[in-house]
């Protein structure tokens, strides 16, 4: 038996003339934490509802733990722990009462049920609130009850729809740790539109936009794909010939494009330089500046954040990717080429790097190099 736990092939869901999902294919392996990323209404929830047998796809097939969602729906349901969006629970019940109900629905009775409930309660640290009504719990605890509910039957697959939404940062961190913990021996799919969340929690990211899959990569790969590092070079304006400067930088080997950036400081000239590959151009840029006799005030290497990638992928007219990895890479390359050609608008909003990509902006950077 292979270690592919979830296999979706050409999933399409149509509501009347509207496609909620279009030819989405992906695989999730054992022990992977997969992030489903996309704007609201992109099709994340629809995909999850198909995998959990809540709705049927218009066409395409999906298998969970080797069982088809159509033909062997009960086996799929037994293999999945599901937490729907906004954590719907029977709020008038006590936590314990509710977990007992879930255990019973899952076919466990007596000591077996008690053992499993106990384990789920321990995993989610619900011990203190077990005798409380669910409606009296904080959002973070409700979320834990939702997770406990999904864990009672110890499923190999967890599907969590927006598990972190609406939580305060502390609660979110706790839930995140919990998911990471659970993801060690399980396959987890979680959806979110929070990019930081994906970087912190997931091994792999699927980005979905307008019902189509537009990316399937690790967070790092994804950032590299479009968000190659670029360089912000700041010169003193005084005595510098802008055109000569530009030519000098443009002449550095490995430079793909140079774009002048608007700056608040009238004494500075700032250029954004995109490299052809992933190489570090700082040394050659420095040398070019010295050779040309320009006064270099700052030189900085910056990585684009995932949210830039996300915006690019979900707002452009993205073509669907093939399921083979080679095709994906080829397509990524093609996309990168296209982006180079249209580097102008990339440069103008490239300064919105995310938290992990060292919070700096060309316009307020310190003197370097």
């Amino acid at each position: 038996m292979s270690d592919v736990m979830i296999e979706a092939r050409d999933l399409t869901k149509q509501y009347g003339p509207v496609y909620a999902l279009r030819d989405v294919s992906f695989e999730v392996r054992k022990g992977e934490v997969l992030g489903f990323l996309g704007p609201n209404g992109a099709g994340k929830t629809t995909t999850m509802k198909i995998l959990t047998c809540f709705i049927a796809p218009t066409s395409g097939t999906a298998k969970v733990n080797g069982a088809d969602v159509f033909e062997d729906s009960m086996a799929v349901r037994n293999a999945i722990g599901y937490l729907p969006e906004s954590t719907p629970l029977y709020t008038e019940m006590l936590v314990l009462e509710y977990l007992q109900f879930v255990a019973e629905m899952r076919g466990f009775k007596g000591t077996e049920a008690r053992k499993r409930i106990k384990k789920a309660v321990e995993q989610t640290s619900l011990g203190d609130v077990i005798a409380k009504e669910i409606r009296a719990l904080s959002k973070g605890f409700k979320q834990r009850v939702g997770l406990a509910q999904a864990l009672v039957h110890e499923p190999p697959v967890l599907i969590l729809d927006e598990p972190m939404s609406g939580l305060d940062p502390n609660q979110a961190a706790e839930i995140r740790d919990l998911i990471r913990e659970l993801g060690r021996e399980r396959t987890v799919i979680l959806s979110t539109h929070d990019l930081a969340e994906v970087q912190l929690t997931c091994d792999r990211v699927l980005i979905i936009s307008k019902g189509r899959l537009v990316a399937d990569d690790t967070p790092e790969e994804l950032r590299e794909r479009t968000g190659k590092a670029n360089f912000a070079v700041t010169f003193a304006r005084e005595g510098a010939d802008a055109k000569a400067l530009r030519d000098a930088i443009g002449g550095v080997p490995g430079v793909a494009s140079v774009k002048q950036k608007d700056t608040a400081d009238a004494d500075e000239l700032v250029y954004l330089v995109r490299p052809k590959g992933g190489e570090d151009l700082r040394a050659s840029l420095f040398r070019a500046a010295v050779d040309g006799g320009f006064t270099l005030l700052g030189l900085e290497r910056r990585a684009e954040g995932l949210d830039k990638v996300f915006r690019d992928l979900t707002t452009t007219e993205a073509a669907p990717i093939e399921s083979g990895r080679d095709a994906k890479i080829a397509e990524a390359k093609a996309k990168a080429e296209a982006r180079k050609a249209a580097a102008s608008d990339v440069a103008s909003d490239a300064d919105e790097g995310d938290a992990s990509a060292d919070e700096s902006d060309a316009s307020d950077d310190e003197e370097q190099g």
Binding site: P88, L89, R106
Partner: protein, 236 residues
């Protein structure tokens, strides 16, 4: 089967976790007690017929209040998604829900039993019609519950489910009340589909197959439609 029972049990208990069950049961008993005992002593006869008639009438209005939340509330809050993605068939969900509310209805009906013994202590009560009337109450009430569940499966709004079920109840109640105004051919049909006519013969102590089958058919059809409505989410 055990899943069905689990769903039914949860549904039944949930009524008592909230106010609905208490409100409906209290209201029904107060109204019934008033209507029944107010005129009881005028008849100078130890008979339960009037009580069953009143309870049959009250059912048309009370049952929609019991059924309105069955599926509508689960859909509104989203709990239906958790319920349905458990290893359970849609049909089990419908049957479980129905049995849960039927259990509550049984409690309601059982609370009228003290009246029967009160009357029996006052005179010589004919027990035959009492039993057939209780059977009639379960058949008529069951059909109404199924219709209410059906309306609840159409919407995620309890109020709409309530008034929809009320409209259906009132329809089956009123449909034979204007027979003299109807053309003869239509009148026969309308009389046949009216709830009261079938309940009436059961109340008199006649257990006829056609009456029993009629209520079972209406209830069964309503549950089947509710099942289709629940299942529809999958394909729409």
């Amino acid at each position: 089967m055990s899943t069905t029972r689990t769903i039914a049990g949860r549904q039944f208990r949930s009524y008592f976790n909230g106010p609905v069950a208490y409100i409906v049961i209290c209201t029904v008993l107060v109204v019934l007690g008033f209507l029944f005992w107010e005129t009881f002593f005028l008849y100078k006869r130890a008979t339960m017929r009037e009580m069953f008639r009143f309870l049959g009438l009250i059912n048309y209005f009370a049952v929609p209040a019991l059924t309105m939340g069955l599926l509508a509330e689960e859909k509104r809050s989203g709990t239906i998604e958790l319920l349905i993605t458990m290893p359970v068939k849609d049909s089990q969900v419908i049957i479980g829900k129905f049995l849960g509310v039927l259990g509550l209805y049984a409690v309601l009906v059982a609370l009228t039993i003290p009246y029967v013994f009160s009357v029996a202590s006052l005179g010589d009560l004919d027990w035959g019609p009492v039993f057939s009337s209780y059977l009639g109450l379960f058949l008529q009430g069951g059909a109404l519950l199924a219709l209410g569940l059906m309306m609840s499966s159409f919407t995620d709004n309890q109020i709409i489910a309530f008034f929809g079920a009320l409209a259906l109840s009132v329809f089956f109640f009123l449909v034979d009340k204007f027979l003299p105004l109807m053309p003869a051919a239509l009148a026969d049909f309308l009389e046949f589909i009216a709830f009261d006519a079938h309940f009436e013969s059961l109340r008199r102590g006649v257990i006829a197959v056609r009456d029993v089958l009629y209520f079972l058919t209406v209830g069964g059809l309503a549950l089947a439609v509710a099942f289709r409505a629940l299942e529809k989410r999958r394909w729409s």
